[in-house]
Amino acid sequence: MEGLLLFAVSLLSLGAIYAILCLALNLEAGGAGLWDLGIVSFFGIGAYTYALLTAPAAEPHQNYLLGLGLSPVVGLAGAAVTGAITALLIGLPTLRLKREYFLITTLAFAEVLRQVFANEDWLTNGVAGIYGLEQPFRDVLTPSTLPYAFLVIILASLAIVYWLVAKVSGDGFGRALKALRENEPLAMTAGIYPFSHYLRVFMLAGALSGVAGAYYVWYNTLVVPGQFSSNVTFFVWTALIIGGLGNNRGALVGGFLFVVMHDALRFIQASSDMALFLSSLRTVMIGAALILILRFRPSGLLPERPARIAVGGR
């Protein structure tokens, strides 16, 4: 029973991380029509920033930059900042491109970043990654309460992210983004300059994904380049499409649902052969779920709805 509870806590924590990524992706893809296939870039940058800022200095057998041993709060803030800066650097050349070209270049940049994580040993300790990071608050909390504390913190962060994203998408700025998504030439004649709007929302999505990356390191206590393959991008897209592209609540639901579908089978105790079979099966399950959604609910479980605007005060 204790094991099941811990497993549920772990699943919920991972679900919250995915939900943050889904909300970030929904902001740019659902809200502004930016088909970003490189959301993992910011996730990875955030994770590495967090690790390098909060990890102790490198041991003799290791090799990575910084290792400042700073507080996790600084790590989280750093992850948000580098996520936004990465988005700025990737956005400057790519956001002027039309949809399909934007999509392919963001995918390429994500791959470039993964190669950097894997090959720049001096910076990231290469493919070996950085292991054994201390979970924050280890000294003030007992080990058995740590997972619960983490769940509370990540859920609170998710709530803040949701609040921020909902404010942006419900505001005039969010309306301008939606207008660009729907009809760019018409939006321009309404006085909206596409590039600056895209760049700003891209940076915000980068910052939020960076925060998700930091929590991912916190959750795993390690960071290796293999965690940041484009699979993550496709997982987040799948989660968002299942939940409902263009609907923040859909993004929230999609993130949790995806993790439950993808990782719930891990709990089953099985022989190694069986485990291999089960781990292949989960990809099949996700694929089947995606096909069923696209067939029967193409706009997702919680589709985008008309935004009602109250008339006459209240």
Partner: protein, 253 residues
Amino acid sequence: MLTVRSVLKSFGGVRAVRNVSIEVEAGRIIGLIGTNGAGKTTLFNVVSGLLPADSGTISFLGRDITRSRADRSSALGMVRTFQTPVGFPQMTVMENMLVFDRHDSAGLLAPLLALAPPRPKPATVARAVTVLERFGLAAKRDLWVQDLSAPELKMLEFARAVMADPKIMLLDEPAAGVNPAVLDQLIETIEDLRRQGMTFLIVDHNLKFMCGICDYIYAMADGELIAQGTPGEVVANQAVLDCYIGRRPKAQH
């Protein structure tokens, strides 16, 4: 107010607009007629900043806007409508209106830092409702634009332009596909706005509509201006008649 001088625009080998000069004075309704493919919409696209001109100059309110992007020209007070009125399909009628309010968005930081949930200014919403009522769309304000009928879309196209509160309106085929009752309403609205000082540049095929409303008409064919003058002069012009009705066969001997 709006001066177009010797504008040239080609697409590959096709010279869509050749050497066209147009003058729109404040408070007037200027028409632009011509058959399909004459280059009217291309000229609109160039003037509104959606397409760059190959050569020539465009000035608006004394400023050179030849190289100005569409959003900049819009900020100066120029708004245009489109021939195919799709609008922003997956946004409500009300949202479509609000987007055209110049002060609807205050940037990204404002909503991020705000404590209260975002809400458009009540005065802006009230103005949008007033405009929508005028165009008979107030009851549809919470519907997605993709769920409107074709005439409603046409009305919304005009309503958005009014919402922008511009100094000049470029209307691309406002009378196309509009039934006679709605057309009368459209004419009334245009004249109403003109009385309040609005300036118009209108492209349309409907000669009766154009002659009834325009002070001065330019006629285009194959990318060039072929005639200009008061409506009476233009409809009597032989080149225009040839264009619209076809050349009279030469008398047989």
